[in-house]
């Protein structure tokens, strides 16, 4: 069974991001970039399937400029077998990403596609679902557990009321939630081995996709700074402030 995993290059989760002075975007100058944490979980799950003998090959795909090869290498160091970069410039919208991934799915014919449920930069939570619609494949989103049984895939999903279990026919699409697994550390020997694993580069045209935009980012503003607290003199004053100033009771 072939497993395709999508990985995205995003600002590292430890970085305190800042808006650019002109408010056009987040300032990415000299900022540490990493693999999106949900994508890392997706890679880990695919690698575990391979280690369990369920999957035979794990392919990591990323969409972006040359720099995203770094995140593909991270996926390869975690245990993916080979990488694919679809080379694009600037930011691409979820719909375009989904179309490009569909192109890769058609080329590679994986039995299972695992994506992060969302990326921590755009927080769109759309790509997996859109890919499901475009490919007409069944989808199990927000997965906290998956199990392969023949041609069937059992997906446990984290929903508001608790856990929901779906049975999907493969080929299928899964998006990973936080609790699906805890990704391993890529060891130094595996980082060195990853350098030698194959990495193919496609253009959107190779996949028959035209990169278009439907959205315009109007402005990016930092959240309001938190004000210092005050000490109140009495319970009455506290209640009054909660009622009339904070308006929470």
């Amino acid at each position: 069974m072939k497993v395709l995993v999508a990985v995205k290059r995003v600002v590292d989760y430890n970085v305190k991001v800042r808006a650019k002075a002109d408010g056009s975007d987040v300032d990415l100058n000299n900022v540490k970039m990493s693999i999106n944490p949900f994508c890392e979980i997706a890679v880990e799950e695919a690698v575990r399937l391979k280690e369990a003998g369920t999957a035979t090959e794990v392919i990591a795909v990323s969409i972006g400029d040359k720099a995203c090869q770094e995140q593909i290498r991270t996926a390869l160091a975690l245990g993916a077998d080979r990488g694919i970069q679809v080379e694009t410039e600037g930011s691409v919208e979820p719909l375009v990403v989904a179309k490009l991934l569909k192109g890769v799915v058609e080329k590679e014919q994986p039995q299972l596609v695992i994506l992060g449920k969302q990326s921590i930069d755009g927080d769109n939570n759309q790509t997996g679902q859109m890919l499901g619609a475009l490919t007409n494949m069944p989808q199990g989103t927000f997965a906290s557990e998956i199990a392969v049984d023949g041609d069937k895939l059992s997906v446990t999903r984290e929903v508001d009321g608790g856990l929901q279990t779906l049975s999907l026919n493969m080929p299928a699409i899964v998006t990973s939630d936080l609790r699906l697994n805890e990704p391993r550390y890529a060891s130094l020997p595996n980082i060195m081995k990853a350098k030698k694993k194959p990495l193919d580069v496609y253009s959107p045209a190779d996949l028959g996709v035209e990169v278009t935009t439907h959205l315009t980012q109007v402005s990016v503003e930092p959240p309001a700074e938190r004000q210092a607290g005050i000490k109140v003199e009495s319970v009455d004053e506290l209640v009054d402030k909660l009622k009339n100033e904070a308006k929470v009771i």
Binding site: E70, R73, T74, Y185, A186, L188, M192, A194
Partner: protein
């Protein structure tokens, strides 16, 4: 931009993508498996034995050792080493890297000079974190004067009989083997041999040196040899050629200590700057007082100089032309830098820096062991003077 551990590191054109990948993974490992417990381990005086196999799995223990023994050496260079030394020093508990990585001084004699059988018996289990090896040079009667050590190993058939003791031995309480300097011949350096002594041998005993100024988390020991019988096959290198084995070990140890000290000094800068930007006195931030700003600038100046010097020495190692005198003086440069930065950071932090629980307080306690261990500043200057042919 603020001055942090990462932003205060000057760019290094030798660092490639795989180096940064190693830094990322190692930092993740340190921040998850070590940082949350570091202070407690320091207070406890030891690190849990489970940490070694975990460190082995991530590739930390095998760094630079042959693949045949479970290590990773292909494609590994000085820049991987520098990153490793930095990231472990960033913990701010000197006893953790000292103890966790003590095989870095105990194992190379075996790898570089030991017999094939000895390597097979020792290296794989040490690199897997299952067993431990320490280096035994210093004696109660003398430290840096290696040529005049007095622990004896007398030949008796196919065994040596070892008598004497070793002290300030990092990792000594836990070690399964000690690469030990012994006197097999006459006086002076020409009578010194290196011998691999298993700690389960009869006549071997040890006591913990657990009341130290720094390196609390390290299991430092005094070792005693009372008629310990060691097979002659345990000779590391040739008989009476041990001085060379000891000397070739020093460059790597000093580079590790120097780059670790620079990183600890950088931690002091990071903590001091964060505090100076937050703490308000006399109506303005500490960082707005000229006396504090100048302290910070001077710390950065010394860090820059030390970083450039570390890089120059690693470049000389990469090109196969290391100068032991320059490396010895680098160790002094680094210990003076960490001494200065620990002092200035402590002055900026004030009372809070004096309380147990801050990295600066811990690093302040680690200054002397770094300025003395692995060759004291005085010995380093002396060695360099000789190297420079003064």
């Amino acid at each position: 931009m603020s001055l942090t551990f990462d932003s205060a590191r000057m760019p290094n054109p030798h660092m490639r993508e795989e180096h940064e990948a190693w830094r990322t993974q190692l930092r993740r490992f340190v921040d998850t498996e070590i940082m949350p417990y570091a202070e407690q381990w320091d207070e406890d005086g030891h690190i849990p034995i489970e940490l070694w196999p975990k460190a082995a799995e991530v590739g930390l223990l095998g760094l630079g050792y042959p693949e045949a023994f479970g290590g990773i050496s292909e494609g590994i260079d000085s820049w991987h080493n520098w990153i490793t030394n930095e990231e472990l020093a960033r913990i701010g508990v000197g006893g953790i890297p000292a103890s966790l990585m003590v095989h870095g001084i105990g194992l190379p004699p075996v790898i570089n000079w030991g017999s094939e059988a000895m390597k097979q018996a020792v290296a794989p289990s040490v690199i897997a974190g299952e067993k431990h090896i320490a280096l035994g040079i210093t004696e109660p009667g003398g430290g840096s004067d290696v040529a005049n050590l007095s622990t004896t190993a007398e030949r008796d058939g196919d065994h040596f009989i070892v008598n004497g003791s070793k002290t300030y031995i990092t990792g000594g309480m836990r070690a399964n083997w000690v690469s030990t300097a012994v006197r097999t011949g006459g006086e002076g350096p020409g009578g010194v041999s290196m011998l691999l002594i298993p700690t389960d041998a009869e006549g071997f005993s040890r006591t913990a040196l657990d009341r130290k100024q720094g390196w609390w988390a390290s299991d430092t020991a005094t070792l005693y040899f009372d008629n310990v019988r060691v097979p002659v096959e345990n000779l590391i290198g040739e008989e009476n050629k041990g001085f060379l084995v000891i000397m070739t070990n020093f460059n790597g140890e000093r580079m590790a200590m120097a780059s670790g000290m620079e990183a600890m000094a950088r931690v002091c800068l990071e903590e001091a700057v964060a505090w100076a930007q937050e703490r308000k006195t006399f109506g303005k931030r500490l960082a707005d007082h000229q006396v504090i700003r100048h302290k910070i600038a001077q710390m950065k100046q010394k860090l820059n100089a030390t970083q450039a010097y570390v890089r120059a020495c690693y470049e000389s190692i990469e090109s196969g032309t290391p100068n032991p005198g320059d490396i010895a003086m680098l160790k002094v440069q680094a210990s003076e830098t960490v001494e200065f930065c620990a002092r200035e950071a402590m002055q900026i932090l004030g009372g809070i820096g004096y309380m147990r629980g801050s990295r600066v307080e811990r690093i302040y306690r680690e200054v002397r062991v770094n300025a003395i261990g692995g060759g004291s500043e005085e010995i380093m200057r002396d060695l360099a003077s000789r190297q420079y042919g003064i």
